[in-house]
């Protein structure tokens, strides 16, 4: 982000902290698309992403007074949004909802059915998102920022509040785990609704496909 934009952001945060009722709304408008992109890719469900983004914005607004400019405002906002989303992911993981979207998607993957999706997102996207969901949240977050959204490792490290080495390590682990789960998508053109799966459902169980431990063949683990 250009320095002048960053300066303007910092000014808006100061104004918000000083009681300007409108400054934070402006700040949100300046960043909403990027922040939405993070939220929707982390949570998939638009309603949940919307809730997380709203919670994050309120939370950021309340913390505007303690923003010290140690990082760029946009980094700070991203961090609050992705943490709000990861909190929700972890809560969901702790208490899986019966019939939740992810399980439904995985069931369809296992059965080789086209996933019914009213927003007609491509099947490839659905498969990739479902595979991503099988990773630990930290790895998901790293891959969402670096591979999905194209942030630099340095930016992702700033957003996630970890070292660049940690981001790289999470990305490497996550990509390695995804290889066997996405192999079918690279063996031909994307599946169309109703097409048979490239692999027969009976050959490999969804469990096998989802188990993280066995991907590399000779993987040292």
């Amino acid at each position: 982000m250009p320095a002048d934009a960053d300066t303007r952001d910092a000014e808006l945060v100061r104004q918000a902290a000083a009681g300007d009722p409108d400054a934070f709304g402006q700040l949100f408008l300046r960043h909403r698309d990027r922040l939405w992109a993070v939220a929707i890719r982390t949570l998939s469900d638009p309603e949940e992403a919307a809730d997380a983004l709203q919670d994050a914005m309120i939370s950021a607004f309340r913390r505007a007074g303690s923003f010290r400019g140690d990082s760029a405002v946009t980094t700070w906002l991203h961090r609050i949004v992705i943490n709000a989303c990861l909190d929700r992911l972890r809560r969901k993981a702790a208490r899986p909802m019966a019939g939740g979207t992810d399980e439904r998607t995985l069931d369809h993957l296992a059965l080789g059915q086209a996933t019914p999706d009213p927003s007609s997102v491509s099947d490839t996207s659905i498969d990739v998102k479902a595979a991503l969901r099988t990773l630990p949240p930290d790895q998901q977050a790293a891959l969402i920022l670096v591979d999905m959204l194209g942030y630099s490792v340095a930016d992702a490290a700033g957003i996630l509040g970890v070292s660049e080495g940690t981001v790289k390590s999470r990305c490497a682990r996550g990509r390695a785990r995804l290889v066997p789960r996405l192999a079918h998508l690279r063996q031909g053109s994307p599946r169309r609704p109703g097409d048979a799966r490239p692999r027969a459902p009976g050959n490999r169980s969804i469990t096998e496909d989802v188990q993280p431990a066995r991907e590399g063949g000779d993987d040292p683990r």
């Binding site: 009722p21 914005m57 682990r173 390695a176 996405l182 590399g216």
Partner: protein, 331 residues
Amino acid sequence: MRPHVGAEVLARFRQGDLSQSRRARISAHLARCARCSSLNEDLAGVTTLLASVTAPPMPDHLTGRIQTALATEAARRAVPPASETAAGRSAGAADSAGPATADRAELPPGRPAPRERPERGWRPRLPALSPRVALGGLAAAAAVVLVAVGVYQVSNQGASSSRSPGSAAAPAAGKAQRNGILAPARGPALEYRHGGRQVSITPITTDTDFTPGKLSSQVAAQVARYGSRSTQSGPMSTPATSGTRSNAAVPGGRASTFGKVPVAALEGCVNRIAAGELVVLVEVARYQGSPATIIVTELSAGSPGQAWVVGSACSASVSDVLQHAELSPAG
């Protein structure tokens, strides 16, 4: 031939974060090992696939919803909590709403202005309902949100008279409180976040069957009858547990269900849907004949609002919105 390279090592190799000598060994191995070079391509493919994932655009209404929530928060700060009144909140919100609305003309170049039309990608709205988005309501410094939470059939007097979901729908309407003519049963206080504090709302249950064609007027009537606007005009100073009268009270604690609705899920749902706004009505009822719970929140009195109808899965972690509509100004 050296041992094959593991996927994670290869992923690190691709990032360039291995030692130079190790990188050289792996490069040499890749040059003559079809299996590992195929894995290497697969890893490249993972990144390509991740980058190709599409996501729905930000829903049109969300900008307005979040701006409204931010304006609420700003208004809360503008008025000292101790002396806060409904009028004070309203004035504070109006102060913040004007500039916020004006800002829409100052969006960064290339960014589409918020569009005033119903959101897409959510469940369809009722044609009879106004398509205004919340941003429109922001100028009026207030918002009302109605949430109908689909739940099991709730009969009139709670657990003792509750029926099975299958048998309850029709006959329950014949019982004492029809559309709230009699005082509805009240449930345990539900705590939720508003303006940075925990406040509470006492849910009611009625046999009202909200219908698509009359949703707005039905909701307005219920808010007029049962809405806690007057008692919560200073909600931030209302103790979180005051006024609780549980219909299935457990001595020393609150009931775990209200009718057949798990209270914890209902409370989570209220928090999730209200998203920081002031809740003035939670009504466990029906929508199109199916069990439903209604929650109304507002930013200040007499404002246009939004109506949400959500399914039985509504909880702290799932919205399950069945319907969403704008309400007309209460006048």
